[in-house]
Symmetry: D3
């Protein structure tokens, strides 16, 4: 059970309602996920979080599906059950196949393993990788 | 300073040397990263880890660059300095531009934020996302 | 379902019962939270944990409510559902308003974001902050 | 060594320079921390992060020092060396005494311990704490 | 609810069925845990994970029970409810007494505490412990 | 650089000096690790932490070396460089061979992998493992 009320439309203040409306328009669905209804208890926070989600998840140098895959990988690593369920659905809606999901998770498992090797054995960064960054192509 | 010796070629046993050789052939470079020299203290472990890296990071339903991006996202979330340095280099070598790196990290930051919202407020999974999986396309 | 039995009063040994009694007297309630009933399976551990809770959470240079807020922030970061539920209740009982809870969590989200920036980009500590500590006022 | 260049004033683009100027004006210091110089490689990200820092860390229902303490607690839990060093300095500058710092960290240690008890033993949330939230005072 | 179907025997492909058979033969039980039924959606992954579990958890320099204890300690630290439940059962089946479980978890709690001291206060490694490894007995 | 001074003997207060003396007597060495010199800034905390270390790490149902192995596993999972260095040394001093260290770390890597499978795919606990605990032998 959430630690704050999940505000239905009629319980939300006008500022929060305006964000709900923008979510509906942007996503082309009438459904508002629970996380927005939790954030609506503080409208400034709701506005700021929604603005960031729109800005960051929009296609740019990376396409929208790749961003969903990265989001899923972080959510698995952070152990966020809520985000795994909701973003598995949105990644599938954006075209993630089961083969892609399986390969994605296997990279997550591999990095979980090899990150722990480097940390557990305290392997020092190779001299060649610890140099000032030479930026790649822009 | 690593907790085990980083084995130079001449200090590695024949089984480990064979893996070094395969790494060199596969990657087309003479350089062996420190993590392999640390794992070489236990050749069975070195073989098994290298086999998994080759299997999982090979292009499949996801291309090799996307896999590097996911690997970087997990390494940032797991706070693995070693893996961030080495895989930022390999992702750049595979074509990651600075704009892609910036967008990748912004998805990581956003998920770090919104994962914490869902966890911190203990938001329950929406009923519609907690259903038995209806697999997407294969 | 807990991995050990939650010991009711009549199932607890006398040493554990004595701690239950002290919890009741200290907190002015007859209710014993599940975590203590789990720890009661090892009375030495129960005693030691309760002694630390009393020592550390008592008001001192920081007041009791500030300590609850910090405790909540750590529990959100550690993803402890049990502790979030119980300490949200105790923080509210000590005077945490909804506005305070919202601001608290926003600091948690912000730090989750900016910690990840510093880690993900491997930003080195500014020379001025890496000096031997000059202690502040005592 | 950071994975992106730390942009000196003369290397930063005008949008990034404008943020540097606002940081200087807001904080009353000429010094710009490394994290901002790293974020400056993507000016939209720099602007958005700085706007959130200003919004969230400003005194409100919680005072500025309490917010610094919470930020430190999260940074310790997330293992962020950079943020611990910079925010220990800013917390001390805002009035954190050594006794406050010590008590703060002891709450962090205690929660690290008791969070792990609840998680490790899989203690279920007491029925009374798992009810729909009855909001406290606003 | 899992994000992928848990494949019953009749839904699993022949490669996955062969792994199920080997699990049954190796463990001397007809029961297949849910995690294997989830992994069975990608038979290569199922094979590789099962091969590693057999290789790593087999008695060697450490006996099988000690390995289960270490596995439990990591699962508690990683907050893996699934793994805590299944491996508490297998550790008990291998001879873990309640006193052993209690002491195991207390080491986990202690390390959670003292790890956080070292990290939170940014204690530098003593010069004597940061030297090149002098290997112990083999 | 630590965030608090590491107190040399002559800088420590009498209560802290008494703990230093007990550490020396208990461990049969004149050397005091940095973490104790950091904790000495708050003598009550130093006393309480040292008391717990002595109580928890003493041989009981688990021998002292097994406890060191578990401590190392948690420190690797928590990414504590300080604790990995100091406890690798103390585990080796208590008899940990290089083969034991290698197997220990492989269990840590395996659990890092399989914990992430169970979490990433949100595998539900098998009904048979989610029952009320039937305690094993005491």
């Amino acid at each position: 059970m959430a630690l704050v009320p999940l505000l239905k439309d009629e319980a939300a203040c006008p500022r929060a309602r305006a964000v709900y409306d923008d979510i509906r328009a942007t996503r082309g669905t009438d459904y508002i996920n629970n996380i927005w209804r939790a954030l609506a208890n503080d409208p400034a926070q709701l506005e700021s979080t929604w603005r960031e989600v729109k800005r960051v998840m929009a296609p740019g140098a990376l396409d929208a599906l790749t961003k969903e895959l990265v989001y899923l990988a972080v959510s698995a690593t952070n152990n966020c059950s809520y985000c795994l369920h909701t973003h598995a659905a949105s990644a599938r809606a954006k075209g993630m196949t089961e083969a892609m999901f399986s390969e994605l998770m296997q990279v997550v498992y591999l990095a979980s393993h090899t990150n722990r090797v480097a940390i557990g054995l305290q392997v020092e960064v190779d001299e060649r990788y610890g140099q000032p960054p030479v930026a790649g192509p822009t």
